[in-house]
């Protein structure tokens, strides 16, 4: 292997989006005929790296990137997906890049259709030539045979099982003559176990034919069985290049999630108790992209509970489901009373508060004042801040302002005053307004989703401090949903990890990073909490 040149090298790739450094010098090296795994948490920068490799418009419309891409040792420039294709780079996408209304063969040959002469073509040239349907059929059949798939090339993609669609994507990539490198972006995420095995077998067969494979996955056991080398990135930075044989799942998961975090001082720690304040039984939530498929969870009174897990696994859906923002079924009991699902008003009236992960969309009225934003839910649902004039109720401006001033001081919201529009506030201060808003309705329990997403480090600290203070000083039960494990570990008492729509395990926050990493990749063995 040593004297072989790598097919692909990406050297010291840097990229920033609007001043936010998402890649801080990542390097990657893939040998011919090897399966190379690329691992990292959500937001580690894998997708951005792949977008760069494919010359996606999103990269070049935001100012391009720094660093070099080399193929066979030569520096190449990839400005469009067409360039990437020209260099023999193929991709099997996470979301299927298939046209549902087209047949399998039409998808396999999309924009690479073999042509034949036609009357129109004689006069008007290439674009007017007819498709050579026979050749399309023949090539597609050959590619499907190579993968060992029993599928009709003429079938419409729309009716195929999900697992089959994946293979159509692969068939398309291997049908491209001269493909040198194939990227598989979380190919097994949507597959059943049997399908996943078949896919891995197909990948190995392709690698044996000399095609290099870059395998992006969260499932570490698959990394172990299929890959020869692993590159791990974290927070947009290169962490380690490992030989798969010389490592193990625990090491990889520790490298993926482990990071230095400021420890937030907690004066009091919650003592494990049997006093259950909320019990969630078999909760199912239809939130697109965050499906919850039967969560059971008991929340102890006065604790800070973290809900972690990878993006798209359903952790975000839990709070949204309880609050009635997305269709939900199951049973949620709060202080002995059942909470009516699918009804946001009922949840708010049960004194459950929610700070949405979608701060600017769901959480705030951006062009209204801080004072009004804080008062709105209480105003709407509990009839607070109202003055009655016979049949007409008016908003009590003075009370609203007074309430806002109280929270501006308490939560240290940096602003010019209660009448400033929230659009002009920084992310961290906007988040505090959201928290103030939730607190105004005097909740007994508060759900906070992704409280630090899109906020700079200093502000993160303040927001987390606020939550801890609420818990310690007022004894409020706080549930924090976050993709950042380190953050959860720094403030929570217990952390529940959600994988594939279910709580796969609940561990004390002091447990090893590696154990959480294993849970996130769906492995429960040896992770007894």
């Amino acid at each position: 292997m040593e004297n072989l040149k790598p097919v692909l090298e990406m050297v010291d790739i840097k990229k920033n989006y609007f001043g936010n450094q998402v890649l801080k010098g990542v390097s990657l090296k893939v040998m011919p005929g090897e399966i190379h795994a690329l691992c990292g948490e959500n937001g580690a920068g894998k997708s951005t790296l792949m977008n760069i490799l494919f010359g996606m418009p999103v990269i070049h419309s935001t100012g391009g990137f720094e660093g070099e891409i080399r193929m066979d040792g030569e520096v190449i420039e990839i400005k469009t997906p067409r360039d990437a294709m020209k260099y023999g780079i193929g991709m099997v996408h996470q979301e299927f890049m298939l046209i549902p209304g087209f047949s399998v063969e039409e998808n396999v040959k999309l924009n690479r259709e073999p042509l034949k002469e036609s009357i129109l073509g004689k006069f008007l040239g290439e674009p007017m030539k007819n498709l050579n349907r026979d050749e399309i059929r023949r090539d597609t059949q050959a590619a499907l045979d190579q993968l060992g798939m029993d599928m009709m090339p003429a079938d419409k993609v729309a009716g195929l099982p999900v697992g089959y669609m994946q293979f159509v994507e692969i068939a398309r990539e291997i049908d491209k003559r001269g493909v040198r490198l194939l990227v598989f972006d979380e190919p097994t995420a949507v597959l059943t176990e049997g399908e996943a095995e078949r896919l891995l077998a197909a990948m190995k067969a392709l690698a044996d034919q000399g095609i290099a494979i870059l395998f992006i996955t969260h499932r570490l056991d698959e990394v172990m069985t299929a890959s020869q080398h692993v590159t791990i990135i974290r927070d947009g930075a290169f962490v380690k290049y490992l030989n798969t044989k010389e490592t193990n799942v625990t090491e990889i998961s520790a490298l993926m999630v482990g990071r230095e975090v400021e420890v937030i001082e907690r004066t009091k720690h919650h003592e494990a108790s049997n006093e259950i304040v909320m019990e969630i039984e078999d909760l199912k939530v239809e939130m697109p992209g965050e499906m919850v498929k039967g969560v059971n969870l008991k929340i102890e009174k006065g604790e800070i509970l973290g809900i972690g897990g990878l993006a798209g696994q359903g952790k975000i859906g839990i709070a949204n489901g309880i609050m009635g923002l997305y269709p939900a079924t199951g049973k949620v009991t709060f202080e002995g009373k059942e909470v009516t699902l699918n009804n946001p008003k009922a949840a708010i009236n049960a004194q459950i508060a929610f700070v949405s992960e979608d701060r600017r969309g769901v959480g705030l009225l951006l062009d209204e004042s801080i004072a009004f934003n804080i008062a709105v839910p209480a105003l709407q649902n509990q009839g607070k801040f109202l003055k009655k004039f016979g049949p007409v109720s008016l908003m009590d401006q003075a009370a609203v302002t007074e309430n806002a001033n109280k929270y501006i001081e308490e939560l240290d919201i940096r602003c010019t005053g209660p009448n400033q529009n929230v659009r002009r506030l920084s992310g961290g201060n906007q988040q505090k307004v959201c928290i103030a808003k939730a607190l105004t309705s005097e909740p007994k329990i508060i759900f906070v989703s992704e409280p630090t997403r899109g906020i700079d480090i200093g502000a993160k600290r303040l927001v987390l401090d606020t939550l801890v203070k609420l818990n310690e000083e007022q004894g409020m039960t706080v549930i924090i949903t976050s993709s950042e494990l380190a953050e959860l570990k720094s403030v929570c008492d217990r952390i529940a990890i959600v994988t594939e729509g279910k709580v796969i395990g609940v561990l004390p926050a002091s447990e090893d990073d590696a154990k959480f990493g294993l849970l996130m990749s769906g492995i429960t063995e040896g992770v007894e909490g």
Binding site: T80, R82, P100, E106, L110, N111, S118, L120, K129
Partner: protein
């Protein structure tokens, strides 16, 4: 694919609800209008010839994912500019139409390019954009015909210019070009049917030789058509139809040619790219298809075809209402296409033809039927307008409902 061959009435109705409903309404109206079927038919045949080309030109943008291109109004404007030019040069008959058909192309291409470029900036809202392109273009068109013509470009043809020498007349008599295409060759209905039978038979023979397998379906159609033709020519029951219904062969030939062209076009590489773009722009882009370019080409094609369609329309009508002839053509053509069972994302040539036919049948019989059913021709008139806007609204709602249903 073969698993569900059984005819499912419910499914069939759900798929074809719109044409079925309109077919039923038409049948009722035809009955109540109390007019001789042959006379209705002759009128519908003429109206069909007037409009079909225009409706078919809408197919391309629908398949390219841009919905109903209400912007084909600009094509109609290009045609009117071309025709006006021909009249200014004192041309007559087929020469005038041919001249207009040629000179309107650069205008149509330019207009199509501009509106296509705008559509690319407003992806997902093409229908709204193209509708307002039509309104906006109307303003520029007015400027051209009210001030520039005569004001800047001197025109010395008395019949087409306002008496003070500035601005075009609002209604221009097209006696010199009326029926220029239509009346080249006119035959009665059953002779036309016999000719059709012959064409289908030839196609069937060619297919049989090519595939070395008899093309039974086409042979059956040919025999049926031939039977109908012979019966019509001999049986007294059809005498009225034979006398009254005259088919403008060349116009129908052009429409037929366009159908063949559209069908052939979607078998080419460019046609396939267009369908891919229509189904999913993002995937097409990732596959290396130049989405914006394809969309602009689709837009240009539809505008050029609609310009020619407008010329066929005007030569049939015999008058040019300079300032209003292009208004609403996009809306009417869109309604016709939708009545045929097309949606804003899926349309076929047969749907366009059926839709044009039904639309004009309904247009024709509704005033008289209104008179006879409700005692007021106004109600029938009301139905005309109701149909156009109602069907567009209905089609869009049905489409949205289908989409929402598909998500579950």
């Amino acid at each position: 694919m073969l698993k569900n061959k059984k005819f499912n009435f419910k499914e069939f109705f759900a798929e074809n609800a719109v044409p079925v409903v309109f077919l039923t309404i038409s049948a009722v109206f035809v009955y109540y209008s109390g007019t001789q079927p042959a006379i209705i038919m002759n009128d519908v045949v003429a109206r069909f010839a007037r409009n079909a080309f225009f409706v078919i030109s809408l197919l391309i943008p629908v398949l390219a994912g841009m919905g109903l291109n209400f912007g084909i109004v600009v094509g109609a404007m290009a045609a009117q500019i071309g025709l006006y030019w021909a009249l200014a040069l004192k041309m007559e008959g087929i020469a005038a139409i041919a001249f207009a058909a040629v000179v309107c192309v650069p205008f149509a291409v330019l207009f199509g390019f501009l509106s296509g470029a705008l559509n690319n900036k407003t992806k997902g809202q093409e229908m709204l954009t193209s509708m307002f392109v039509g309104y906006f273009a109307h303003g520029l068109y007015m400027l051209l015909f009210l001030f520039i013509i005569g004001g800047i470009i001197p025109i010395d043809v008395y019949e087409i210019i306002l008496p003070n020498g500035v601005g075009a007349r609002s209604s221009i008599d097209l006696t010199q070009v009326k029926g220029a295409v239509d009346s080249i060759l006119k035959v009665d209905l059953f002779t036309f049917v016999l000719a059709l039978a012959a064409i289908v038979a030839i196609i069937a023979v060619v297919n049989t030789v090519k595939a070395k397998k008899p093309d039974i379906a086409k042979f059956v159609v040919a025999v049926l058509l031939a039977g109908l033709g012979v019966a019509g020519n001999t049986m007294p029951a059809f005498l009225m139809f034979k006398r009254v219904v005259k088919i403008p062969v060349v116009t129908y030939g052009l429409i037929g040619l366009l159908c063949v062209f559209i069908t052939a076009f979607f078998k080419t590489k460019m046609g396939q790219d267009m369908r891919a773009v229509g189904q999913n722009m993002e995937i097409a882009e990732v596959s290396g298809i130049n989405v914006n370019k394809i969309r602009i080409i689709a837009n240009i094609m539809s505008v050029v075809l609609s310009a020619w369609g407008q010329l066929l329309f005007l030569q049939n009508l015999g008058t040019l209402s300079t300032y209003t002839a292009h208004q609403n053509v996009g809306m009417f053509a869109g309604a016709a296409l939708l009545i045929g069972g097309a949606s804003v994302t899926k349309a076929t040539v047969p749907q366009a033809i059926l839709g044009t036919f039904l639309f004009h049948l309904l247009f024709n019989v509704s005033p008289l039927a209104g008179q006879n059913i409700f005692g007021s021709a106004l109600i029938g008139e009301y139905f005309r307008v109701f149909i156009v806007y109602g069907v567009i609204a209905l089609a869009i709602v049905l489409h949205a409902a289908k989409k929402a249903g598909g998500k579950k």
